[in-house]
Every structure is written in C-alpha cells, then in structure tokens.
C-alpha cells in the first residue's frame, strides 16, 4: 500500500471459506440469541455449531486435496493459507468439534451468568432450566480467531485474531455452573493478564513496524539487515512480540495464569483452551519467528532455549505437589509447551527444517486429542459440589469405575510418553528433530523433566488403582452421548497414533513440506 490511490482489494474467498463459514455461523448464532425463543435456542445452536465446524473442516480438507496448497498469501497478503496453516486448521476444527460435544452438557455452564451466585435469581434460573446459550456463538468466534491467528501473514491481522480468539474465552471462563466464584476469578485473571500481555504484543508490533516500516511478515523479513542503526528497535520489538505469543502458549515465565484459569474455568472450556488454543498459538509462534524473523534465528534461538528449559522445569517440578486434578493437568500442559518449544527451536530459522515442523505438527495432534480426552474424563468424576477436583477424591476410582479409570490412566501414560501411546511418538519426533538440529542438551533436559513429570502421572494412577476407595467417594456421572463420544474418540486417537502413527505423520510431512510461504 503506498499512499495515494486505493485500489479495491482482491479476496480469495475459496481459500478463506473455512474461516468465513465459522465466523458466519457465529454471527448467525448471535442473531439466534436475539430472536429465537429461549427454549429453542440450544436445540438450534448445537447443530449449527457442530455443522459449521464440520463444514469448515470439510472445506479445509477439500482445499488441501483439490486446490492443492497455494504458494502465495491470500487477501492481499494478509492471510497465508499454506500447508501448515491448513493442517493446523484441520486440527483446530476437529478438536473444537470435540470440545463442543463436551460443552453440550448442562452441568458445565451457569444457568444465568447475570444472576449473583447463591441469590434467589440464580435459583429461579436453575428452576426454569435457563441455559447461557451465548456459549455457542462465543465458542465459534473464538474458534474463528484461532483459525485466523496462525494463518495471519501480517502482524495487524495476527493481533486482531489474537483478540478475537481471546475475548470470547475470557467470558467463557467465567461461566462455570458450580464454584462460580472460582470461575469468575479465573475469568478476571485471564482477562487482565491477557490484555496486559496483548499490550506487550502490540507495542512489540509497533516497534517492529518502526524498524521495518511494514507489518507484513515478508516485508519484515526482507527488511532485516537492510536498516542500519535501528537494531535496538528490532530486538526490543521482537522480544515483546515474543512475550505476547509465549504468554498464549503458557511458557515460563509467562505461565502464571494457566493453573488458575484452567482450574477455575468450566472443564469443557479448559479442554478447549488446553487443546485448540495451544495449537493456534504455536502456529502463530512458528509463523512469526520463522517467516518474519527466520533470518534472526541466531539471535532469538538462545533466548528460546532459556525459555524452553525454564518452561519444562517449572511445569514438571511444580506439578509434582499439585492436589487438584485440573491444576495438575495445567502444569502438565506447561511442561508440554516446553517440549513443543524444543520443537520450535529445532525448526530453527530461515532454512526451515521440515522434519522438525512435521514433528511439531504431529505432537500437536497427539497432545490435543489426549488432553481433550483427559478433561472429558474429569468432567465425569463428580460429587455433590460438582466435579471432584481434589485428587484425594480419586482414590480407588479403579475399583468403582475400572473402564473409566483405565482410560484415564492410559491418557496419563500418553502424557508421560510411554511407548505404544501417541504421546511417545510425539515426544520422540520432537526430540529426534531437536537432536538432528544439534539441540542435544535441550533434549537431555527434556528427558530428565519427562522423568520427573512421569512421577505425578504415575501418582494419579497409584491413587486410582492401588489405594482403597474412600467411603464417600465421588460418583461417576452417567456421561452424555457427547462426553462418551469424546472419551472414546480421544482414546482411540491415542491408541491409533501410538501404534500406527504413520498416516498422520505422512500428512504432517506433506503439510510441512509445503512449508510456510513467505
């Protein structure tokens, strides 16, 4: 864009179709809230949401197979729908679909957010069986943001996407049906810290813009080295961009929000955040540090090393002493973010190491499914006050519900990276890539922390199987069709990816071989 004349932009609608579909559905959802009678809303929302996500998924696949992978950014270089982007879209859409099945559960969300907890209003709301159906459009908006986030080929779009994906989540976090105080607190914390960090992102963006004179990733990358005497601008900007992104993936020292939010938020939303958001965020990280700053990798890599190590260590060590299941899973997700970061480091800079990229993508798939599954199980273990979060309540679960406990144990083993689970191949792929990229020390730290991390997964298994059940142990909620479907799917994915990872690995390879377009 050079001042003066403004020509009409060209938009490749076909390419952007999945996104547009999701956003459109979201808008429709808002209209439904506005006009549909309350008793109808849910029954319209659910199919709408599911269809929208499924449709978007199909469109993505179609895009990948029919059109082939485009080699130039779309929408005037604002959005880059390339191999990795498509792959990430597919993951996000599937996981979002799965999470939606979880969200479709009256026990998850508050009857009426406006009603003060414990007030008579709330009782009425509950009695009338109200439901906060705004959840669905919010979800769709957020997912839309997630789709745009990793595909953004220009910092502004990325910022907007960041906000679009975050803002609905802030709200969703506050809508838990039980323990509303915790939920609301989580919401506030997430919101304040989130906006705080996005301010950093924005300022970084400003500085980079100041350096490069453009916010287009390609332009930035091509401007590197051409501008003299402005390096400080660049480095500080790069750092602040990094802060914004690392916050989203919950890397230390920006992880503080994760445990609190994961614990407070409705479990279904936690599942969504733990899986899809992580995927989207890593997509964005890769794009920024690769497409835009690829040529500076010798500068940012050491810092990334530090962050990765710190993240792995903090995640693993802090998790050991957790007593709340969701909180523990939050820390575990921090640790996994650390492992993923080793993958990011392995992808390196401009030379675009595709093995590492595909490894990373595979890891995201494997981890995403397992996480959703794990949280799905968490939603099913309940007692009087809602979900039985405290670990002590899980004692002897293996006796009361062998199958469920077994599946959960299996998920935990997958987190721990035991062979014949998807987690193992994820870890293996990433570590292998890292070793190939001369990041051996990082890998050693990785395995040591995984050994530490294994401890708390094992601890839960001990609780569930080896200790005698508590007298007033939690009951196992009869799962909704959705929930059981989620658990089954996740378990199946974990097994299949653990035994025959080849197909998905191939997909990831193809996606990676196209690489990020610049």
């Amino acid at each position: 864009m050079n001042g003066g004349t403004i020509e009409a932009p060209t938009i490749e609608y076909a390419l952007l179709a999945p996104m547009l579909l999701v956003f459109g559905a979201a808008v429709v959802g808002v209209l439904i809230e506005a006009f549909a009678p309350r008793y109808l809303r849910k029954s319209i929302h659910v199919p709408l949401t599911l269809l929208a996500l499924a449709g978007a998924f199909l469109l993505t696949i179609l895009q990948a197979v029919r059109e082939g992978v485009p080699t130039t950014p779309a929408a005037m270089g604002a959005v880059a729908v390339d191999g990795p982007a498509l792959f990430i879209w597919a993951i996000i859409l599937v996981l979002a679909f799965v999470s939606t099945l979880l969200i479709n559960d009256d026990e998850q969300f508050v009857a009426q957010a406006a009603a003060v907890p414990g007030s008579s209003d709330e009782e009425d709301a509950v009695r009338h069986g109200y439901a906060q159906t705004e959840v669905y459009p919010l979800l769709l908006f957020s997912v839309g943001g997630m789709l745009l986030f990793p595909a953004a080929n220009d910092l502004l779009v990325m910022f907007v996407a960041l906000e679009v994906l975050s803002l609905p989540l802030y709200l969703l976090c506050g809508l838990a049906r039980r323990r509303r105080l915790l939920s609301q607190e989580a919401s506030v914390k997430y919101f304040l810290l989130g906006s705080f960090s996005s301010a950093f992102f924005l300022y970084g963006m400003a500085l980079v813009y100041g350096y490069a004179g453009s916010i287009d990733l390609r332009a930035i990358s091509s401007s590197l080295g051409t501008v003299v005497g402005q390096d400080t601008l660049l480095y500080v900007g790069m750092a602040m961009l990094g802060v914004g992104l690392l916050f989203k993936i919950g890397a230390a020292p920006f992880q503080a929000w994760k445990p609190d939010v994961y614990q407070g938020a409705p479990t279904a939303v936690t599942a969504l955040m733990a899986s899809t958001v992580l995927v989207a965020a890593f997509g964005a990280v890769l794009r920024v540090f690769w497409v835009a700053l690829g040529n500076l990798d010798w500068d940012w890599r050491p810092v990334m090393w530090g962050v990765a190590i710190l993240t792995m260590v903090v995640g693993a060590i802090l998790a050991i002493t957790q007593t709340e299941i969701k909180r523990m899973l939050a820390y575990s997700s921090i640790a996994h973010a650390g492992f993923l970061l080793t993958g990011v480091i392995a992808t390196g800079g401009a030379e675009q190491n595709k093995e590492a990229l595909s490894a990373l993508l595979f890891y995201l798939v494997a981890y995403g499914f397992t996480t959703v599954g794990a949280f799905a199980v968490v939603t099913m273990v309940r007692d009087a006050g809602g979900e039985a979060g405290h670990l002590s309540r899980w004692a002897g679960l293996g006796k009361r519900a062998p199958l469920l406990a077994g599946i959960f144990a299996f998920f935990l083993l997958a987190f721990a990276g035991i062979p014949l689970t998807s987690g193992f191949f994820g870890k293996y792929a990433v570590f292998a890539a890292a070793v190939a990229a001369d990041a051996l020390p990082l890998v050693v730290v990785g395995v040591v922390t995984s050994a530490i991390a294994a401890f708390f997964y094992v601890r839960v298994i001990v609780l569930m199987f080896f200790s005698e059940p508590a007298a007033d142990g939690p009951s196992i909620a009869v799962p909704t069709v959705g929930t059981s479907a989620v658990v089954t799917l996740a378990a199946a994915a974990t097994v299949v990816l653990g035994v025959f990872p080849e197909p998905v690995l191939n997909l990831a390879d193809q996606a990676a071989s196209a690489l990020f377009i610049r």
Partner: protein, 98 residues
C-alpha cells in the same frame, strides 16, 4: 523530531504497566491496560509519520476498535465479579493459588 513522541509513548506504556502492577481496583488496572494500548497507538502514528506510509495510522484505528471490544468484555467481567463480591479489588480475588 519524532523521537520525542516515541519517548512519550514509551513513558505512557511504562506508566500503564506500572499502574497494572500497583493499582488494586480492577477498573483502574484495566484502564492502565488501555493506556498501554494507546501508548502503542501513539507509537504507530509516530512511526507512520517517520516512514511516510499510512499503515501505522490505519493500525491505530484497528487498535481503537479492539480496545473498545476489550472494554466491553472487561467491564462485563468486572461488573460480574463486583456483583458477586461487592468489591472490585483484584486482591480479593485470590482463591485460586499455589
């Protein structure tokens, strides 16, 4: 010439950040965040001027819109928690810890 504006924006950003850290009232904290965003806007406009292209100014508009959206969400959340706790102090909300 534009340096002063940059310094100013940096100062604003710092003030905002400091505010987030030291103020207790959620609203004020949130306002500080807004201040940081606006500091960014100033920076963008300045750089736009420096580079002689419009991107920066354009971005500023986008940021304002986003900020507005954030305000909506933020106020909603803060009001929600205020109604429950009868206080908007961020320090009261610390049930989730360790």
């Amino acid at each position: 010439m534009t340096t002063h504006y940059l310094v100013l924006s940096a100062l604003l950003f710092a003030i905002g950040g400091a505010g987030v850290l030291i103020r207790r009232n959620a609203i004020v904290v949130f306002m500080c965040v807004e201040l940081m965003l606006n500091a960014c806007n100033l920076a963008f406009v300045t750089f736009a001027r420096q580079h002689g292209n419009l991107d920066g100014q354009l971005i500023a508009f986008f940021v304002m819109v986003v900020a507005a959206a954030e305000v909506v969400i933020g106020l909603a959340i803060i009001v929600m928690i205020f109604r429950t706790r009868r206080s908007a102090s961020v320090d009261n909300a610390n049930l989730l810890k360790y």
